[in-house]
Amino acid sequence: MDAAVVAEDLAYAYGELVAVDGVSFAVAPGEVFGVLGPNGAGKSTTIKLLTGQLTPAAGRVAVLGLDGVADRAAIQARIGVCFEEKNVYPNLSARENLRFFGRLFGIRELDVDALLARVGLSERGGDRVSGYSKGMRQRLMVARALVNAPDVLFLDEPTDGLDPVSARTIRRLIRDEAARGAAVLLTTHDMYEADELADRVAFIDTGRILAMDAPEELKLRHGTRSVRVRLRGAGGIEEQVISLDGDGDTDLLADLVGRPEVLTIHTEEATLEDVFVAFAGRGLT
């Protein structure tokens, strides 16, 4: 199947500051692709390049088989974008916001109620957005990105700073959209979100992709595996961390299993953050 989004050797700089430097990846239809990196890593600039907000200084963008620069208008008719900043119209209601964006896509009979229901805003759809909480605004922004039933969905930090309920609503929507067949590209610095949602992730730092694969693969290949054993010893409860990667440690684990003083045994796998640190030499925040 043809990729929905292709980025080839993308580069962009704000004056002297290089924001994106040789970024390449492809996202398939129905795939959730996470771009993971700390603030200032180049995630938002990458989205701007892919959505036609910026023109690449070098490299190529293709979305839905269309050229990112020459066919910008045709691409923008088929994508949905959720921005990091809460750029909705505060003096309009959620319904009016959605209807307005629907009309920009040439949709005169938009099913606003269905969209509001999907993001849990049915009750407050008629209220002005100026009275909304941050989570409600974010949910409205996601609903706005869906007005044209996009073939590609770009989500820039969609759950940043949200309460757990709002974040869960948005994550469910992302899964639904991918299940519908939309390619979803989301940026985040939340490793758990990326781990939970993304089919593949790309680690990005200082404008470069450091690694790219399925989260599970990255963790297995680049993280460490261990088992944490709690046991009752002479001085009270003790803990032992046994690496599953080191020679001989598995023998120690086998020796411990079945002994009466063992209280609990937990397997521990590397997190995406551990893997990111291994690549970038610094954390995600």
Partner: protein, 361 residues
Amino acid sequence: MSARRGIVAAILAKDLRAFARDRFYVSVSLLGLVAYVLLFWLLPATVEETVPLGVRLEGAGPVLTGLAGAADGLDVVAFDDAVALETAVAAGDEVVAGLDFPPGFLADVAAGAPTTVRVLLPADAPEELRPALTALVRELAYLVAGETPPVTVPAVDEAIVGTDRAGAQVSLREQLRPLLVFLVLLVEMFALASLIAAEIHQRTITAILVTPARVSDVLAAKSLLGTGLAFGQALLILLATGTFVRGWTILAVALLLGSVLVTGMAMIAGSLGRDFIGIVFWSALFMIPLTVPAFSVLFPGSAAAWVQALPTYGLVRVIVGVTAYGDGWSQVGADLAVLAGWCLVAFAVGVVVLRRRVARV
């Protein structure tokens, strides 16, 4: 409806809704309209062309009548008491100046004896009033003495160039009309600048520009909104002040050009202003010089060359020419052409500045 027109219409409708929900601008616009119209109708519609002069001269009824007849437009108000005359001059309601003749003035003048007349002037009396009153006193002295001035007064052949406005001067109400139109235009300029600035700083413009909408659609919608708001309200105020009796087509064209002019400037102010204070600053920077020509109508004399060079001078000239002097296309054509030129410049600069600003968001 084509896709492009549909997008422009959608942005326009959204902006109108946002404007209608902005209590500040709606209040300012509505209150302004009502206040300006009220002010217009409260101002005098005619110009008082007689000069009321207070005179205290004992036993001189016939002389006073003669005095009134001696000068055109002089309205003599007799006073019996010097203090009452001084009070009236100071108040300035009843008389603009006073002549306080001493007791026995008539007899002294008739006998050729020296005497002094007190000329009472208010603190804000124009400089030229003093010699005029002195001349009047002298004329009165000749009148009382029953003599003619010791010179042969040359005949005067008075020629009025243009329309003789004697008895039909331009009233304060009519002089104020261009200023009222300007205030409306400028409030709408400020409102549009705020809408543009909000669109940029709330970054809603970026959300619009990742849809099929283009920068040109946004510019078209903002231009239509700004011109429409300014033109509509300027039209309303001219209608409410009974201006569209004659030359309404010329006035409509002039207002439309004026609205385009302020729309261009609103685009510049909205692009440059980063917050409310910034918008106020940039708007004021345009508003103050633009209003000067409207003030120049309020004061006698022709406008200075630099005032005539201001973009809005042509608009003021057209409004005054049509409403006060009944000018037609041939008289105001040149002013309209200059105004149209300024519109093009302001609008082109506004579009360029806004386009560049949007591209940087």
